[in-house]
Each structure stands twice: as structure tokens, then as C-alpha cells.
């Protein structure tokens, strides 16, 4: 793979998972974060930090957007305009219109845009997809997904619905994307959210969300998200039933390693690192890097990212209005260019 020039924008929790992955792939990474945290993070992983967004983007082959959601559009459009491919952390944007604009801009510029729906790269979910797509469950009827972790009070913007979209958009979009990936397009959404839903969120805040997705093929999915008390361990579960049986997973049920007896008391980790073995963030970034270099399309596309935002936006609307939201089938895709024009990674 040609040496990658990566501009990593942001120095928060997700940047901390992406940076070592880029470094492991041999990329040259320069960090920029408007909050001034980039130099420390860069030093930790042997990267460099720069003083402005423009400086970071200039000449980059890839821009990795790890900033709060409300800034994704602007940074992505700047990156695309500069001819860079983009890895944008999920959700792509707070509205499907903005996300669509980002995907359109990338297509028009002939660069790739991939959303960081990293759950597709967690082994249990990747295996689930293989099972479902391979017909191992027969015809799927009903599925449920839960995602539970501490309330993300470590960074203030998560609690701000105008910046993160709140739990329905920021957290539950993971499983909305998985449900669509597994069971196809979603035509009806109903959602509720409750608990502490406003900014600022004090330490100890709790919020939950529930969504029911109806897929075009008839399957139904329940998605539950929990931002729990500070000591809540990160945990995801799923249970899927079809005519060929059931499959279930609980990330806390069968641990490779369990340490007990240690005095604790601090808050739990908020961002899952994955189990032993390769970090799912590294798997994700390697697959994207290969695609940026002209390799095969990865398991998630920019349009998938737009579709996930569409579901999350519908869920947020449903929670606001108390009504269900019907989603028309997506418009036919504009055919992608079959070759990557100049300005790509081989230049």
C-alpha cells in the first residue's frame, strides 16, 4: 500500500481509537483539533500535530473526521474540496439532507466517503451478518439489539441534542445501521427516549431510548440504547429469530478474560475497545485504507451512512412528535464512477 498521508481531525475518544490504527498501517498522521488536545495525543502515538484545519487537510490523501457530529459536514466538505478521501465518524451528520450532501459532494469530486460504523467490524456482528446473509437463520422475523454504557459525560457535546442528536442518533444509530445491513431497508420507525435528554448532563445522568424498525421485507427490529450510571460496564447484546432458529450474543457473557477482586470505584470505560485479537477499529481502517488505495469496496458505503442517518432522524422525529415516521424506499442510486479519478491515493 502506498504511504498514506492522513489528516486526523479531533483528539477525543474516537480519535484515540483511530490514531493507533493508522499508525499500525504505516500511515503518516497529522492531527488537528480545535480544542488544543491534538499535541498531547500526537506525542503519545508518534504523530505530528498541526495548528489549523487547512494545514492538516492540505495534501492529505485521507481526512479522518473524529469531531463532534455537528461539525462533520463542514470538515468533510472541506476535505472533499481538497481532493481527499474521507473517513467520517458516525453519524455522518445530524440530518439525512446534510449526510446526503456530503455523499453527493464526495461522488462529484470522485473521492471516497466512508462512515465509521465500526460495529460492522466487531467480530460478533460480522459473524451475525454472515449467518443472516448466508441463510443460516432462514427467513428472519424479529430481532432485538441493546447497547448499554455509561452516560458519555466525559465530553459535554454528547448530551446536547443540537450537537450529537442525543442517544437515539449518537448511540442507537449503531444498531439501526446493523439492522438495516442485516434485514434491509427500513420503512417505518417508532421511537421513544426518556431520562436526562438535555445539556448539560451532570455526572450520574441516565438516559434510554427504544426504537422499533419495520423492514421492507417484513422483519421487525427492536433497538434499545442505555446511557447508564457511571459504573455501567459497556455491553451489547442481540437476539435474532428466523425460520431457521435463533442466534444471540452478549458481549459480557463469555469473556476471554475476567478479572475480579480488584478494588474499583472509578467510572467504567465508555468506548468499547473490542475483545482480544485485532481491534475492530484497525479492521475498519485497514478495509477503508485498501479501498482508498483503489481496492475493493468496504462493507459499508457512504450511502449506508446516509441511510443510517435517515433512520436515526426518523427516530428522533418520532420521539419528538409521538407518531411513527414512514420512510419511502430510497431513490435509486446515482451510478458510481467505475474508476477512481486522479487525485486518489496513488498520486
Amino acid at each position: 500500500m502506498a504511504e498514506l498521508e492522513v489528516a486526523l481531525i479531533g483528539a477525543g475518544g474516537i480519535a484515540r481509537t483511530h490514531l493507533p490504527a493508522w499508525v499500525a498501517l504505516g500511515a503518516r498522521v497529522r492531527l488537528y483539533a480545535p480544542d488544543g488536545r491534538a499535541p498531547a495525543l500526537a506525542r503519545e502515538f508518534g504523530a505530528t500535530s498541526v495548528g489549523s484545519l487547512g494545514e492538516a487537510i492540505a495534501g492529505a490523501t485521507v481526512v479522518d473526521v473524529c469531531t463532534p457530529t455537528d461539525t462533520h459536514r463542514e470538515i468533510t466538505l472541506a476535505a472533499v474540496a481538497a481532493g481527499a478521501h474521507v473517513l467520517c465518524e458516525k453519524p455522518l451528520a445530524l440530518s439525512a439532507a446534510e449526510a446526503g450532501e456530503m455523499a453527493d459532494a464526495a461522488e462529484a469530486a470522485g473521492v471516497r466517503l466512508y462512515p465509521g460504523h465500526v460495529v460492522r467490524f466487531f467480530p460478533a456482528y460480522a459473524r451475525l451478518r454472515d449467518l443472516v446473509a448466508g441463510g443460516g437463520l432462514g427467513r428472519v422475523a424479529v430481532a432485538r439489539f441493546t447497547r448499554t454504557g455509561r452516560y458519555p459525560t466525559w465530553s459535554g457535546w454528547f448530551a446536547d441534542p443540537l450537537r450529537s442528536g442525543g442517544i437515539l442518533t449518537d448511540q442507537m444509530i449503531h444498531d439501526m445501521d446493523i439492522a438495516r445491513w442485516l434485514f434491509g431497508d427500513v420503512v417505518r420507525v417508532h421511537a421513544r427516549h426518556q431520562g436526562h435528554l438535555t445539556n448539560p448532563a451532570p455526572e450520574g445522568a441516565v438516559a434510554t431510548g427504544t426504537a422499533v424498525l419495520t423492514h421492507a421485507g417484513g422483519a421487525i427490529t427492536q433497538v434499545v440504547g442505555v446511557w447508564g450510571p457511571p459504573a455501567t460496564p459497556f455491553r451489547t447484546t442481540f437476539h435474532v429469530s428466523g425460520t431457521g432458529g435463533t442466534v444471540q450474543h452478549d458481549s459480557q457473557a463469555h469473556l476471554d478474560l475476567r478479572i475480579t477482586g480488584r478494588a474499583t470505584g472509578g467510572p467504567a470505560d465508555g468506548i468499547p475497545a473490542g475483545d482480544f485479537g485485532e481491534s475492530p477499529y484497525l479492521t475498519q481502517i485497514r478495509e477503508f485504507a485498501e479501498a482508498f488505495a483503489g481496492g475493493p469496496e468496504p462493507r459499508v458505503s457512504g450511502r449506508d451512512g446516509v441511510a443510517a442517518v435517515r433512520i436515526a432522524e426518523a427516530a428522533a422525529q418520532s420521539a419528538r412528535t409521538g407518531r411513527t415516521v414512514e420512510l419511502a424506499p430510497p431513490a435509486p442510486l446515482v451510478p458510481r464512477p467505475t474508476t477512481v479519478p486522479t487525485g486518489g491515493i496513488d498520486q
Partner: protein
């Protein structure tokens, strides 16, 4: 005390007979006149195989003036038996759901009220000691306020052995009617009888659709219930448990509170492993016998004259959730309980 088990339509009839048969101080009689002739799982044949006294007609049962009855007929056939029992002064334990319409449920409650007999709805899960501990933890404030509940009550399709479960007229629906009510009852306990405000449901009949026994009713259902206090309960009520699984299914529920998250499993396995004889996972059920605990409560209310709990009103509140859920399936929208058809007089 003379106790009559009325009808063997519901699979729980045999369970109750087994529990009542050998108890001191209980004279058990049974009857199943609506049984299809020749069915070894019904009627006199079943009673004899279980060693229970049997009479052939409802008239004969009620002529024996039972002190109490357990109604295990098809859901739509609860009412006439409950009304008759009440008229003869018998206390009633009625299988869930209490009825298939609000009018029937109300008539049953009124009949028992007028006759001065108790009416208990058969919700055994609330008798789990672990659930009692959950209830206590909520009451003492150590969990903080409840924010939401999500739970699954999945089982194998009961219509495989009892086809009426897939008859909308007799059962009142499919998996949604059969399973939503158990978790609704637990939430009813936690919220001290707060009536639900709104229900949303989606369902399908993909499971068992290909030659299976239940094409007429939904076999998978997701139900979201909102309560006036703000609590939301998300329920998976599907008959999604494979028929060849070692257990019938299960019920588990997670409560998210302001200070803690509590997971409750009503039927945890006591032992696992592998059974080479069947080639399947081993699953030895553990925990308390919830049906026995529920029957104990029923008999005790008769002995002491206490009002039973869960009572008929609990059965009606949880039935209203089911009726609103079916209305939601029709409209594709959440349904406010006050707007659900089939309510008072409907």
C-alpha cells in the same frame, strides 16, 4: 376445600391439576366437556392419566358447589365459566389473558364483585422471589426512579400442541396477546397499577408461515408501552423460541433506574451442559415453582378472605394494553388507551 379445574384447553390445566391433586385439604374435581372427542390430551383421558376426579358436564361441576375454580378454557371462553362460578359462590383463578374483549373482562369483574367472590388473574411471574427483591429495591429508593424497562417473553408456538392458540376468535390474537401481558403485569406491579397511556406495536407471522400451525395470527410482536409517569416499556412478545429447544422459552426483563440497572430472569437455568442422548444442550430449570407460588396465594386468599392479587382489574389493565396494541397494528401508529376501540361498552 373443593377446587374445580374447568377445561383443559390451556396447557396450564395439567400443571394446575398436578399441583392441586396431592395437596392436603383440597378435593380436586375437573371437567372438560368442550374437548374434542378422542383427544388423549383432553377430557376424561387426560384426567385419568393425571389421576384427577372428572365429571362430564359443567352442570355436574357446579352442582358440586366448588369453593374455588381454576378457569383454563380458551381465552374467549373464560367469561361464561367465570360468571357461572361467581353465581355459585366460587372464587376464581382465571388463566391469562383475562378475556379477549374489555366488555367480557368487565362483566367477569362485575360478576365476581356482585357475588362477593375473589377474581384472580393467573400471572405467576410476579411471585418470583427475585422479582419481589427487585420490587423492594425499587421501593427503598436504591435504584432511583425507573426510566425504562425492556424485556422479552419468548416461547415456542403453543398452537403446535393446541391449535386454538392460533384462532383469533378463541385466543384473541397470537403471540402478542399471549405474551405481552406477562411483562405488562410486572410493570403494573412496579408502577403500582398505573394505567398505560399509549401503546405501539408491530408484528408479523413469518415464523411458522410455511406450513406451520399459526398462519392466522402473528407469531412475532414488538410492543412499546408508555405510562403517564414517563416510563417506557419495550417488549418482545414473540413465539420465536424454536420448538426443538430444550425449554419452552423464558422471560427476562431489564429495568433502567436513575441509580442502577437491574436484570431479572424469571426462569434461569439451574444446570447446563450437553445431553448426548438427545444431542441437545442440557437445560435443568431452576428457581421457584412460580405456578405453585401463585396457587398458594390464590388458596390463601380464600382461606383468609383477602382480596387476591393480581386481581381482575390487573387483568383488565393489562388486557387494555393488548387491545390497544392490536389497534396499533391496524393503524400503524401509537394508540392512546382512551382511544382504543373495544373499550367500555365496545
Amino acid at each position: 376445600m373443593r377446587v374445580a379445574v374447568l377445561s383443559f384447553a390451556h396447557v396450564h390445566a395439567a400443571t394446575y391439576i398436578g399441583l392441586l391433586r396431592d395437596r392436603d385439604g383440597i378435593e380436586l374435581i375437573t371437567s372438560d366437556p368442550d374437548a374434542p372427542p378422542g383427544d388423549p390430551t383432553r377430557g376424561r383421558q387426560l384426567a385419568e392419566s393425571l389421576g384427577a376426579a372428572y365429571v362430564d358436564t359443567w352442570d355436574e361441576v357446579f352442582a358440586l358447589r366448588p369453593d374455588a375454580v381454576v378457569v383454563t378454557s380458551e381465552n374467549a371462553r373464560h367469561r361464561h365459566l367465570v360468571e357461572r362460578a361467581a353465581a355459585t359462590g366460587a372464587h376464581v383463578l382465571c388463566e391469562k389473558p383475562l378475556a379477549t374483549t374489555e366488555a367480557d373482562a368487565r362483566a367477569m369483574i362485575d360478576a365476581c364483585e356482585r357475588a362477593g367472590v375473589g377474581l384472580m388473574t393467573a400471572y405467576p411471574v410476579r411471585f418470583s422471589p427475585a422479582f419481589t427483591a427487585l420490587r423492594r429495591a425499587l421501593a427503598d429508593g436504591s435504584l432511583g426512579g425507573l426510566i425504562s424497562v425492556h424485556g422479552a417473553n419468548n416461547g415456542s408456538n403453543p398452537a403446535r400442541s393446541r391449535p386454538w392458540f392460533a384462532d383469533p376468535e378463541l385466543a384473541g390474537g397470537g403471540a402478542l396477546a399471549d405474551h405481552t401481558v406477562h411483562i405488562a403485569d410486572l410493570v403494573d406491579v412496579l408502577l403500582d397499577g398505573e394505567e398505560a397511556a399509549e401503546v405501539y406495536a408491530q408484528a408479523n407471522s413469518i415464523l411458522d408461515d410455511d406450513g406451520g400451525p399459526a398462519p392466522g395470527v402473528e407469531t412475532a410482536a414488538l410492543v412499546t408501552v408508555r405510562y403517564p409517569s414517563g416510563l417506557v416499556a419495550a417488549v418482545d412478545a414473540s413465539w420465536s423460541h424454536p420448538p426443538d429447544h430444550p425449554t419452552w422459552g423464558g422471560l427476562a426483563m431489564t429495568c433502567v433506574g436513575e441509580k442502577a440497572i437491574v436484570e431479572f430472569d424469571a426462569f434461569p437455568p439451574l444446570l447446563g451442559g450437553f445431553d448426548s442422548a438427545t444431542g441437545r444442550d442440557r437445560w435443568e430449570a431452576g428457581g421457584t415453582d412460580l405456578d405453585a407460588a401463585m396457587l398458594e396465594e390464590f388458596l390463601d386468599t380464600i382461606r383468609t378472605g383477602r382480596r387476591p392479587s393480581p386481581d381482575g382489574e390487573t387483568g383488565l389493565r393489562t388486557l387494555r394494553i393488548v387491545l390497544a396494541a392490536y389497534e396499533s397494528l391496524r393503524t400503524g401508529q401509537p394508540v392512546a388507551l382512551r382511544d382504543a376501540p373495544g373499550t367500555e361498552g365496545g
